[in-house]
Subunit: 917 residues, 2 copies
Amino acid sequence: MSKFVYTFGKDITEGKGDMKDQLGGKGAGLAQMSLTGVPVPPGFTIVTDVCNVFFDNDQKVPKEVDDQIWKALAVVEKAVGKKFGDAADPLLLSVRSGAKFSMPGMMNTILNLGLNDKTTEGLVKLTNNPRFAYDCYRRFISMFGEVAFGVEMGHFDEVFDARKKKAKVKLDTDLSADDLKVIVEDFKKVFAKHAKREFPQDVKEQLILSRNAVFMSWWAPKASYYRKMEKISDRLGTACNIQAMVFGNMGDTSCTGVGFTRDPGSGAKVFYGEFLVNAQGEDVVAGIRTPSPISELKDWNEGVYNQLVDITTKLELGYKDMQDFEFTVQDGVLYMLQTRNGKRTGPAAVKVAVQLVEEGLIDEKTAVMRVAPNQLDQLLHPVFNPASLKTLVKLATGIDASPGAAVGRLAFTSEDAVIMCEKSPVILIRKETTPDDIHGMDASKGILTAVGGKSSHAAVVARGMGVPCVVGCGALAINERGKSATVKTGDKTVTIKEGDWVSLDGTTGAVYLGQAETQDPDPNSPAFAKFMKMADKFRGSFGVRANADIPRDAKAARAFGAEGIGLCRTEHMFFAEDRLPFVQKMILTDNVKDRTKALAKLLPMQKKDFAGLFESMAGFPVVIRTLDPPLHEFVPKREELMVDLAKLPAADLKTKKEMVARYKNFVPDVKSLKTVLPQLLARVEQLHEFNPMLGHRGCRLGITYPEITEMQARAIFEAVVQVAKKGKTVIPEVMIPLIGGVEELKNQKDIVVRVAEEVLAKAGLTGKQKYLVGTMIEIPRAALTADRVATEAQFFSFGTNDLTQTTMGLSRDDYTKFSKEYEDKKIFKADPFGVIDREGVGKLIKLAVDLGRSTNPKLEIGICGEHGGEPSSVEFCYNVGMDYVSCSPYRVPIARLAAAQAAIQKADSSVQAGGTK
Amino acid sequence: MSKFVYTFGKDITEGKGDMKDQLGGKGAGLAQMSLTGVPVPPGFTIVTDVCNVFFDNDQKVPKEVDDQIWKALAVVEKAVGKKFGDAADPLLLSVRSGAKFSMPGMMNTILNLGLNDKTTEGLVKLTNNPRFAYDCYRRFISMFGEVAFGVEMGHFDEVFDARKKKAKVKLDTDLSADDLKVIVEDFKKVFAKHAKREFPQDVKEQLILSRNAVFMSWWAPKASYYRKMEKISDRLGTACNIQAMVFGNMGDTSCTGVGFTRDPGSGAKVFYGEFLVNAQGEDVVAGIRTPSPISELKDWNEGVYNQLVDITTKLELGYKDMQDFEFTVQDGVLYMLQTRNGKRTGPAAVKVAVQLVEEGLIDEKTAVMRVAPNQLDQLLHPVFNPASLKTLVKLATGIDASPGAAVGRLAFTSEDAVIMCEKSPVILIRKETTPDDIHGMDASKGILTAVGGKSSHAAVVARGMGVPCVVGCGALAINERGKSATVKTGDKTVTIKEGDWVSLDGTTGAVYLGQAETQDPDPNSPAFAKFMKMADKFRGSFGVRANADIPRDAKAARAFGAEGIGLCRTEHMFFAEDRLPFVQKMILTDNVKDRTKALAKLLPMQKKDFAGLFESMAGFPVVIRTLDPPLHEFVPKREELMVDLAKLPAADLKTKKEMVARYKNFVPDVKSLKTVLPQLLARVEQLHEFNPMLGHRGCRLGITYPEITEMQARAIFEAVVQVAKKGKTVIPEVMIPLIGGVEELKNQKDIVVRVAEEVLAKAGLTGKQKYLVGTMIEIPRAALTADRVATEAQFFSFGTNDLTQTTMGLSRDDYTKFSKEYEDKKIFKADPFGVIDREGVGKLIKLAVDLGRSTNPKLEIGICGEHGGEPSSVEFCYNVGMDYVSCSPYRVPIARLAAAQAAIQKADSSVQAGGTK
């Protein structure tokens, strides 16, 4: 006969700590604690297999399981010295679910099981505390009703609140025993009405119904969804833990508390926690009374305190990780209710991991796996002091686009931001940003937009700069010209104006009115450095590069450990104030001659930029992408021109002067407006596109205007020569964007190679200075034909932003309009612009990697989309066989850690993923 | 020793008609004619292998080839009775290329080879016709110079024209012998200058150089490209035909002519052609003198005429197809120079194919393969009378978007078109059309747009309506409000205004100013019906459906043989004048209640439409797609609103009244403009998208607004019940657009099935009335995950317009801006919106078909994109295993024929594709 039920507790423990498969995490923990002599209220665990049997068997369990349950219950009764259902001295039980993996959203708990009209009266007599007894009973009826019969807690709350009102009391604890007795009767009526049966007085029936409810919770929609998300098998099942109740609310010799073996905020090795005398566990969390710091437990009961320190220290040694524990002292006797690895902040995770290695408790591999990569964000960006947020009005929550906390005064235009930043820190607020806003973004401490998603212009650029940013904050109605905005927050509408102080949390997306305190992180702490060094040991040859467009970003990237630049967007160099006029001239001309002339002006500027990048990244590869965005991004906005042109006939001088200022690169004076604006609009109309994302951009520009590619190639290779002549190692990689097939790559590669060879020959470096020419893979067709593309490409770099847009037929900017519905309705498992969609986009990437290597085994393969800094995506890239990932400088450490973890897991699939957040 | 050279001619023929591999098409034809007793000037063919040897061998041929050439030449000399290079009576030769397959753009021809200073003098004496001799010599020098040395013909023309000017003559034939003698000397100088050597007097050298030139032409860029396009192997090589010259210009007993065994325009069985006395072949084509109809040849020389009729009749019998032949009569003796299958118009192709079957010459399979599917277009649409076009000014050439000829007066807005069409035919001219223009397009005989490609709105809708349409006519600068346009044509700028007569050819893209004559085709001719019946026999179970949105189109589709509707775009029903206000109300409301109310108004209208479709297509499946386009298509244009709002403060009453008219569904009167316009703009702004193609549309609408899907499903199934109750067979298939994965399909399918079951249950038809729910596959991710999608889908329909856009990352509307560059630079082999891109998009389709069938073997698969009516794409769909194609009604016969041909070719890969255009 199989064993379905395992008892635990002093001297009666049948299971072991390594039996998580059968006992679940919680059950195995209780068994382990019992075995190591930790005082645990006795109980028993029904194994996970029974959960499957239950569902396979029409929601029934075989008789032999029930037999084992009653047998185990008898053992527990003996250990406690009380009897289940005994009217004089009843044994009360808790019932809890517990799967192998922790599953938030599934945990069902029923306390005080075993109470009925009779046993409650027994408890009254036994404890001489009717208030305690009725309170336990009413709690049990409502929890049991909710968990086992799906009665909404609201129905109970209504009755409860009505009684409080009647009794004219504020706190639950102010209710008298008599009040509670009435409530118990009312609760039984609520139960009967909604559960459509009487509340069961038979304690055995209570137990069986509760056990079944725990099993049913395995298939609750939120639990199913969580398993799907986390790829947890439906066949694992949940165990069911039934345990004797202990009470911290039996008087002043009782208490209940929670704690950590180290500080979960900083990682410091101090005993940390709080407790509450004469209280039940839920009261500590409820915040009705203020708990005392755990250090005061020593004064209250030194013996108990020492015992607790001793036990938890042993537990930490046993679990080899910081523990988060719960305990109850019943009448001077300590019981441990739970222990588990404690959740912690990023800095704490890093510090604890390093400490544990130093203490010899864990090896480096384990330490590296202990920190969730995204936790590093907290080490790289300022955070708010939570206390200082409490006094501020929360305005709205947008999309967390670039992490970190920022405080500043609102500026509504980039020009204003540049001016205002000299006097005080600035938060730039815009409906959306465009490349025109680069200088304003650069001048700001934080960026806030009303539209756009995680891959919008604002988000991408802000992350690159390391500036906190919240986007897609739809609650904002911005009046850009009026320099104000309104926000609906609850029923109130708040108006915010230029100069108002705002605090913005790019890590959570929250926006507050007022000035919060920020805390600066210490990314250069010894623990962090030590931790990253450990991580890098496991990463092997898999590289992490950074996306950086200017020397300043390249230097930051190096400091964060980037091993090269995976993407330099040359167009970002085109928006600088001194260059834009030439760029615009180049675009607006309709003949090759004038275009070539304008390009000649840009060449020395681009060359200087490239030389700066090569110097900052000497010895490392630098991938430079040729011009990518549609040309209309560089010229005035069509709608703005149309509106101004419509206004012009009736405009006064002031308005006209504003127009001249707005189009200063085109219109010399007020009187030219009439002739120049229509011409300008006509050309802008020609550049207008219905779907710019799918339009005349990327290599399509270089193919129609080969002189642009030629100028850029010349600037690159003249910069290569200049830096190489200084004795520095330059490793240039020229990347052609947006190809759909080998023909487009070939066309552009021919130009690049011709110019490169010409420039190198002139410098006497032919054959000596190596370089690569490769391509972005960001269009499905390029991926599908990667075998042919790879015959011309020396490297592939997956542009997963655009590849996601095209593969899913989904505009990243427009998606935000219905993303909430898609997430609520579980259409997408995660934001596909945040995490690589493995099923669709990932399949295409895998296909392209395999096809590419099939014709060109030496092909270098990386990723330069925003996903390159997202841990799950980094893992995917590692597993699919890429050579490197590239991400914004501030995510480089995250990518390094994610890659290390992917490498460790690939080498040893038994290693557990992720840290403990 | 291998045989490299084959002689042909009376009694000396070594080759045969089936030796096309070795002798090429032309050489095999000459051999065949010779063998069947047709008088052919003798000559010899150098086999195609020598072409390969030539290139493998550093552009030299082995001595044994030369030996065989001189030996064959001796045979020819004997047959003709003249000697090559004989100063007294020289044998003159023609040299021509001739590959296995006809390759336009490669054919090189050199005539009169063997002339030099001495033989020319001999010819003068022999013919006593110095003019003739010098004319031959000058022709030879220039042709030889061009073909063998790449001297541009322009250099020779310059000299020739200068001499004509000096001699004050207009026609070439007016030049005297002396003039021509001077020209010969000048030509030799031109030759020496540009060929950088003296003109070779050695006739053997002339021959060898000419032969080499023929081989070289095999690798000319245009020939290489043509082979790549047509997938002809580079190793086939070209043969070289060297043949004795005969002269039709030796006096009044000589003539030259061309003819067809049947009328190539109508297919009528009449002897057809023309001839010119005392002329060389090229003169017939040059149009300097007007040739006589071939019937008059009988009067000129009855013997020759009878002989010619006799020979060509035999040739037609031998080749089993209409022949296109060339002949020359030299001094009363008939020589056949060429025979080949004749090119013909669509009507002729159909008629000849049917006749030949009736005459027992060919079987039905062969007949079906004889007509190129696109040729049927000419039977389905009116065409211009070519003569009537000669007097008109050609304004421009745009993209041929919907075939047929149309004549009408210009209307610049849809409203004008509706008004003007009552008095005269109308051509609607727009920058681009939008769904707003449906009524104007419907009122017009032809549609002309300045932007957009073959898949633009104008193109798609026009094809659906069968209205001729030219799009992307970039030469037009349209001033829509001014109701005029300017066209640059050459140096001149022409202005066209409202009411001007224009003739537009949707088959060629040409646009003319003025009224041309049109000829109506007869699509119901007995020959056509018979032909289509033959074709359908081979198509098997492969279906052809039509894309039709309204009952009228459905009826037209049935008449063209459509076996169901493959795509009904329900949104087209939303643009009708009486519905738009409700649609707009539905869109602009921000709550479900009001939206549901507006939808309730639309329900009976949609139901009526659907019932009409079901009745027209009783017994055939009808695929109805739920709402697809982005909602902003239904509301006023954002830019227009912005401009009007900018103008409003200074607007006079007239302008304001115009605005009220423009926004009549929203603004009741002039004084409301100020309040309503900003509100309207605010909502339109919310709907605005950066990339509408990738935005909030397709199933994404149905997911965010389930009430829309619900209303449409209700309308569909209530219509089903209504028509089914009349005893008609209704086969509804509900199609969900733009899904990226199974989750989206499931979401929408659940709504459709719920409503369907509810409606059917109410009618007592549960289980009795069948229906399918399926999905478009138009997003790469849907194709990549088709195995999962097929677990929910009962059918797939490939939306290849959008699938091409997303797979190639290419907006069909914006592509026209650089399509010319892409075609010129050979980046794309064909317009991917016209012909399915097999390498990329096709690969994805194949993948999706295989994945889909892997999990759902019963899956019905079709295509409803524009490609469904394009022959090569139909072939692809057939081969990839689809069940049907769906296309616009007017392309249904084309698709039927293309499918028949694909089926025949798949069953028998030896069958030759396509007809003879």
